[in-house]
């Protein structure tokens, strides 16, 4: 067993961290986490700026085959994610770079790869995901948006919801029902790509509890999409969505974000007094922070195990579910801990009164995304139970 990185890996990892550290200096005020890419114009501009910086270094195509402009390894992607997480910056389109690109590489034909991978690598095209519907969240296969074939086009009708950044994205990938009469609901689904400027698409904001605009409802009224934009085969869309499990799932980005948070919390406690005594010397505070440090280290070690396995083309799907649950719930606990620690300021949002520049007050409201999106933690538990422990599926 060996947890050590090679000298080359250490050097490359440092390069990622150095560049991200520079980019952090340009972060707009109040930028916290993924949602900040989409909410304000400043956030979006910053996200695009970072994306271009990464694109010119070839970092948005890490671990792609070289014939598609790729370079580097899966571990390089992991280190890059760590650096972005640590400095909490945007720039790597989670939908295009992290979800769609591996899917196209795995399931797309040459025409699809040729037409779409370049735009992802160059950061010229930003994507959104159109999956969930009002009646199809965790049970995605129950979706009802139809795509009826007419000649060399599909005509789409339906409604998608909770689409992050759809109001900003250039293109979308969607799962739609091409065969409404399929025997089982998982059958008859197709994975499609289309331009968000296609006539018939209406995007309406879904305001979050903090009044931010991150998510959207997307209405599709007779939207015409070329048949050649199918990824994989018609009717095999479910299998293509399952392939998204092939994208990097160590969650090291989120874990490194918390590592940075921990360092900032320690600094705060070392400098802040309460009742005449430094917070750092309060045994309850020490114990609580130490517990977070231990939990974070355990998540980090498991995440590295996943990254190591994936770099060898071995899947560790249940470990990935475990780390998703653990890191998401840990982020919630960290937000709760800090908003407790700062006393009445724990309720203050980004403003001149806010502690940590409003970072933890934001996470107090945003941590739900980590525990609900990409398969709720309850679904992850089902996956572990049904597939990992072979317990009966519910009927």
């Amino acid at each position: 067993m060996d947890f050590k990185l090679t000298d080359e890996q250490v050097k490359l990892r440092k390069e990622f961290f150095d560049v991200c550290k520079e980019l952090e200096q340009k972060k707009p005020q109040g930028y916290v986490g993924l949602e900040s890419n989409y909410d304000t114009d400043e956030g979006w501009k910053y996200h695009l700026y970072c994306a271009k910086e990464f694109a010119r270094r070839g970092w948005l195509a890490l671990d792609w085959p070289s014939q598609y402009g790729g370079k580097g390894t899966m571990m390089d992607r992991v280190f890059f994610a760590e650096a972005r997480g640590y400095y909490d910056i945007g720039g790597a389109d989670v939908f295009g770079v992290e979800m769609l690109a591996p899917t196209l590489l795995g399931a797309g034909n040459e025409d699809i790869k040729r037409r779409f991978l370049t735009g992802i690598a160059s950061a010229d095209v930003m994507w959104c995901e159109l999956w969930s519907e009002p009646n199809a969240g965790s049970d995605l296969a129950s979706l009802t948006t139809t795509a009826i074939r007419k000649g060399d086009e599909y005509v789409l009708n339906g409604q998608k919801t909770w689409s992050t950044g759809a109001h900003r994205a250039h293109w979308a990938f969607a799962v739609v029902r091409t065969n409404p009469n399929a025997e089982k609901k998982h059958q008859g689904l197709t994975f499609l790509l289309f331009d968000m400027k296609t006539p018939g698409i209406t995007v309406k904001p879904l305001y979050y509890m903090d009044d931010g605009h991150y998510y959207n409802e997307v209405f599709l009224d007779d939207v015409r999409v070329p048949v050649k934009n199918v990824v994989g085969e018609e009717g095999k869309g479910w299998q293509v969505t399952q392939m998204l499990a092939g994208f990097e799932r160590s969650n090291l980005g989120a874990i490194m974000c918390m590592q940075r948070q921990l360092e900032d919390i320690v600094k705060y406690c070392n400098e802040t007094k309460e009742g005449g005594e430094l917070l750092a010397k309060n045994p309850l505070v020490r114990n609580r922070i130490a517990q977070v440090a231990c939990d974070l280290e355990s998540a980090r070690c498991l995440a590295y195990r996943i990254a190591d396995a994936q770099s060898k083309n071995e899947m560790a799907p249940f470990d990935a579910s475990a780390v998703k649950i653990t890191s998401g719930e840990l982020q919630a606990r960290v937000a709760h801990m800090v908003t407790d620690l700062v006393g009445p300021y724990g309720q203050v949002k980004i403003s001149r009164w806010a502690k940590f520049n409003g970072f933890f007050e934001t996470w107090y409201q945003h941590h739900f995304r980590l525990n609900i999106a990409m398969g709720t933690n309850e679904i992850q538990r089902n996956i572990i139970a049904w597939n990992g422990l072979s317990l009966s599926r519910m009927k």
Partner: protein, 379 residues
């Protein structure tokens, strides 16, 4: 980076599992727990020495196998999974390693090969009635008189002192309350003035009170140098912490396996109880707790094996695993329903051992305080 065991290590694991399954089934575990005199099986102990287990980390020149600390933790994982009552951890962690670290050539030659052969059982007498794990807890006095020392005081929670041949006694020879002035003595357990009594504990693991009343120990039995022995104890605490964590991971695996298996057999409301989502989620969380424990321990064991500084990583692992092992086994008992609370059933063996493992070599709050210091919180 390669976060996986080698083929040889997996073979070691399999061999250990097969041996323990055959030699120490749960019926034997319970018999040994109830055995008031010994608490271990000399027959199994002998067979273990024939396999080279006691000598696993002892250099070949002293009759051992010269294997690594990480290899040793693989064995411990299997012992935790199967449960093996006995003096294995204390003999290796509290006997072998301190002698290897700080012993004279004479002490090494005298003791290590006998330990490797299964002829000697060792343990360390460290904790005192104040229950403190740090150096300030050491008050047992050792007074220097010419060519010997005289030990006076009481130690508690001394593992398997009832059967030990040697006890490494941590005593205060200097003034003050800190780490300076601490000396470790290799004490013949049959010395006049030693009185041992087994303390009844949740783990039924033969932790003993040992009274030292004017116990004479030759000066040549000082381990290392007088007044500077606390580092020996620190090494024991660190290696012991990882050892207990490794054992705990094995125990968690057993608890998860047992609980999942039971949930598939036990039928209520016309279906196996494992079909109910509420229970499925608890079992998924048990599995997750086990997996998240695994790699933080493997990292600590690897660092120790490589001789890398790892005080922080070890404290993190111990603090984390302490809580997870207790939680997993508690849920295991609960998911078995009433039968899970009975002496007859096997799941409570793990629940009880989780409490014992928690405290051994430093409980959660002790470890978290180390972590707090190491991550930079001023104190």
């Amino acid at each position: 980076m390669n976060i996986a065991f080698t083929e040889e290590q997996e073979m070691l694991r399999k061999a250990a599992r097969d041996f323990l399954t055959a030699e120490c089934p749960k019926k034997k575990v319970k018999e040994l727990e109830e055995d008031e005199k010994k608490g271990y099986s000399p027959e199994i102990w002998k067979k273990m020495s024939d396999l080279g287990w006691q000598g696993m980390v002892i250099p070949e020149k002293y009759g051992g196998q010269g294997m690594s600390y990480q290899d040793f933790t693989i064995l411990l994982e299997e012992m935790g999974r199967n449960i093996l009552p006995g003096p294995f951890i204390c003999t290796v962690i509290e006997g072998v390693y301190p002698i290897m670290d700080a012993g004279t050539e004479e002490q090494k030659k005298e003791l290590l090969s006998k330990i490797a052969n299964g002829e000697l059982i060792c343990t360390m007498a460290q904790l005192e009635p104040n229950g403190l794990f740090d150096a300030s807890g050491i008050t047992l006095k050792a007074t220097h008189k010419g060519d010997h020392y005289v030990l006076e005081g009481t130690k508690v929670f001394v593992e398997m002192a009832n059967v030990a041949d040697y006890m490494l006694c941590v005593a205060r020879t200097g003034k003050g309350t800190a780490g300076d002035g601490i000396t470790v003595f290799i004490v013949d357990a049959k010395s006049h003035g030693i009185h041992v009594e087994v303390m009844p504990t949740i783990g039924m693991d033969k932790l003993c009170e040992v009274q030292f009343k004017n116990v004479v120990v030759p000066s040549k039995n000082v381990l290392g140098k007088p007044d500077t022995g606390w580092h020996i104890v620190e090494n024991v605490m660190r290696r012991g912490a990882i050892a207990k964590c490794a054992e705990s991971i094995g125990g968690m695996q057993a608890a998860v396996d047992m609980t999942v298996a039971y949930s598939k057999e036990r039928v209520q409301y016309d279906r196996p109880i494992g079909a109910f989502q509420a229970l499925q989620h608890i079992m998924a969380d048990m599995w997750t707790a086990m997996q998240t424990s695994r790699y933080i321990v493997y990292q600590a064991a690897w660092m120790e094996s490589e001789g890398l500084p790892c005080t922080k990583e070890v404290a993190m692992a111990k603090a984390y695993v302490n809580e997870k092992y207790k939680w997993v086994t508690e849920k295991g008992v609960l998911l078995h329903g009433a039968i899970g609370t009975s002496r007859e059933h096997d799941i409570p063996l793990y629940y009880r051992r989780a409490k014992s493992a928690d405290i051994r070599y430093g409980g959660t709050d002790f470890q978290r305080e180390i972590v707090a210091n190491k991550i930079g919180l001023v104190s």
